[in-house]
């Protein structure tokens, strides 16, 4: 509707008023175009700048940068494997914890509860997404980590202690706690995308399912199955957020560059090492290596986000 209106007005303008187009119009349209192009240029510029600043490290270490876990500013040996490992494991674990809960809360809000509950609860979930990550980290150190050390980790260790995942010393901080904080932080993102996607699935489908005698859950399940690529998109978007999350992870992951099977062990993430070492880095190779970690982070989040957006568009554009 809107589009055809625009087209009509443009047709008129091209036929008759073209010559009368005021300089103000041309100026303003191009001005807004300029700012839009600025936006695109900015993203390109960020990529180029970060690539350029990490050139020294790329030249010096080549691919061994990704495959070595030797990180030593004193001997100027830099390999990012331990950080890459920490980022991947903590983010994926966070996604595994968060995804079922996110889908559950999305279904709860969009299919189950009455509007009088939905409005305040969805507001609270929105707030959850808006709380600064520094506060999550702060809460993580002083509330969640002691709770993990006193209750959750001993319980896991006594129940599943035969698995290498849940062995080793109990500190409270570490990979598991970082994943849990990340899971809390990405749940609002995934659940809000899931809700949007569910909204894009026509109600008539659910009504048809009910008419055929389906239970409520069966109707919901059908809607979820039809929305699966969009939900996957939301999940991948959440993953992207978890990969780039810095402050909360830095405060609870333990900041020790090591690759250990146990989730209780302290670890380190790509974003955390940049946050901790960048301002104090002395040698140019050290800074360049940190920027190369940033470049890897940029590349990964770019791919992950692009993938997520394509999945989300594929569902929501149909409506």
């Amino acid at each position: 509707m809107q589009e055809s209106d625009i087209k009509i007005s443009e047709e008129i303008s091209t036929k008759e008023i073209r010559s009368k187009r005021k300089p103000g119009d041309i100026f303003f349209e191009n001005l807004t175009l300029l700012f839009a192009l600025l936006l695109i240029g900015l993203v390109l510029f960020i990529a180029i700048e970060i690539y350029g600043d990490s050139a020294e490290s790329i030249e010096h270490f080549g691919f061994s940068f990704i495959f070595s876990s030797d990180w030593n500013p004193v001997t100027e040996k830099f390999g990012a494997l331990a950080f890459i490992y920490g980022t991947i494991v903590s983010s994926i674990l966070a996604l595994l914890i968060s995804l079922p809960v996110s889908i559950g809360v999305a279904v709860f809000l969009s299919e189950i509860v009455h509007k009088s509950v939905r409005t305040p609860v969805s507001f609270l979930v929105e707030i959850l997404a808006a709380i600064p990550s520094i506060i999550y980290g702060f809460w993580g150190i002083y509330v969640l980590a002691p709770f993990m050390a006193s209750t959750v980790q001993p319980a896991l260790s006594s129940l599943f202690g035969f698995l290498p995942l849940f062995q080793g010393p109990i500190f409270g901080t570490g990979m598991l706690t970082a994943s849990l904080i990340l899971a809390i932080m990405i749940t609002p993102i995934i659940s809000s995308i899931t809700r949007d996607v569910l909204k894009a699935i026509p109600v008539s489908q659910r009504e048809a399912a009910y008419a055929l005698g389906a239970t409520r859950w069966e109707a919901i399940k059908m809607a979820l199955l039809n929305a699966r690529s969009g939900i996957l998109g939301g999940a991948v978007l959440g993953l992207g957020r978890a990969i780039g999350e810095t402050m909360a992870v830095t405060m609870v992951i333990g900041n020790k560059a090591q690759i250990k099977a146990s989730l209780f062990e302290p670890a380190y993430s790509m974003a955390s090492v940049i946050a901790n070492e960048f301002a104090e880095a002395s040698g140019s190779l050290h800074i360049s290596s940190l920027i190369e970690i940033g470049l890897l982070l940029f590349g990964v989040t770019f791919i992950v986000n692009t993938f997520a957006r394509i999945l989300i568009y594929s569902v929501t554009r149909k409506t």
């Binding site: 509707m1 809107q2 209106d5 007005s9 005021k22 103000g24 119009d25 349209e29 001005l31 807004t32 175009l33 300029l34 700012f35 839009a36 600025l38 936006l39 695109i40 900015l42 993203v43 960020i46 700048e49 970060i50 809960v101 996110s102 889908i103 559950g104 709860f108 299919e111 939905r118 969805s122 609270l124 979930v125 808006a130 709380i131 600064p132 990550s133 520094i134 506060i135 980290g137 702060f138 809460w139 509330v143 749940t187 859950w217 069966e218 978007l237 992207g240 990969i243 780039g244 999350e245 402050m247 405060m251 940049i274 946050a275 960048f278 301002a279 920027i291 989040t301 770019f302 957006r309």
Partner: protein
């Protein structure tokens, strides 16, 4: 229900389906509860720990050494305001203008490209934006500065503002624009005076949301604004910021500093909460249909 079940002698299959139904519905309700639980916990814990150290001293005094009474975060609060001011000077014009372009002037394909790039920009981790500002400004100026920090915050504000501007302009009925054009008002004046003015309350709430987000950003400031324990308002010098101060105090070993960090965290949470509440209130009528 009981009656019909007995009457028709429901086969086990249906009983199983009903059981699955109830179990899944209950699980969804539990998911709702465990999502809200951490929020309420964080909110009440921060309030409890922060409110006791939140007094006038916190807002008007400078940080003091451990053990001295009455230290505050005045410099960090002013620093945050300056940083957000610089950020707004960058984020608001770019965000609003590109939003106008997407909504008013672009064709389908260009709109798609710009929206896609906006989404990508909003997905870039904030610490990367910090590195970008470091490489562009800190290295060239040879020192950490409020300018670099504000620049980073400004970039982080852009995607939110672009998106909200575009969405709010889309909500303005086409007929209002046509009425204006029919009266002989030029297109650009129609966009600015009619469309933008009609959408302004929505756009302002979007800007507020972007500011709330920027106010809590820590990672991009670590090596741009850097922080400062003294009173400092020059934009070419390192400057303190509320989240940076919270971070520094939070990881310190001193109880006294922790209390102040909680007070700072409480201020930030309150800011986020109030701004979101305002946004809810303003946009309630516009979105009442689909919320």
């Amino acid at each position: 229900m009981e009656l019909t079940e007995k009457k028709f002698k429901m086969p086990g299959n249906i009983r199983r389906r009903k059981l699955v139904n109830s179990v899944m519905i209950i699980l969804c309700v539990i998911a709702g509860i465990i999502t809200i639980l951490p929020l309420l916990y964080i909110f009440f814990y921060t309030t409890k720990s922060g409110i006791t150290s939140l007094n006038l001293d916190f807002f008007i005094n400078m940080p003091k050494p451990v053990g001295e009474e009455g230290g505050g975060m005045a410099n960090a609060i002013v620093g945050s305001i300056i940083l957000i001011g610089i950020g707004s000077l960058i984020g608001i014009p770019v965000g609003v203008m590109s939003g106008i372009y997407i909504s008013e002037y672009s064709k389908n394909i260009t709109a798609f490209i710009i929206k896609f790039v906006t989404d990508i920009l909003s997905g870039i981790p904030s610490i990367i934006i910090g590195i970008f500002a470091y490489g562009l400004i800190v290295i060239n100026m040879q020192r950490f500065s409020a300018l670099a920090g504000g620049f980073a915050l400004g970039i982080l504000m852009i995607p939110t503002i672009t998106k909200v501007t575009e969405e709010m302009l889309k909500l303005v009925p086409q007929s209002i624009r046509e009425a204006s054009l029919a009266l002989g008002v030029s297109r650009w004046k129609t966009v600015l005076r009619i469309a933008l003015t009609t959408a302004s309350s929505g756009i302002i709430t979007g800007i507020l949301l972007a500011i709330a987000r920027a106010a809590g950003e820590t990672a991009p400031l670590l090596f741009t604004a850097f922080g400062n324990s003294f009173w400092q308002t020059e934009i070419d010098q390192p400057i303190a910021a509320l989240p940076l101060q919270i971070f520094a105090y939070a990881i310190s070993p001193y109880e006294d500093w922790h209390r102040q960090a909680w007070a700072g965290a409480f201020v930030l949470i309150l800011l986020v909460f109030v701004i979101n509440l305002i946004v809810r209130f303003v946009t309630r009528n516009k979105f009442s249909g689909n919320q």
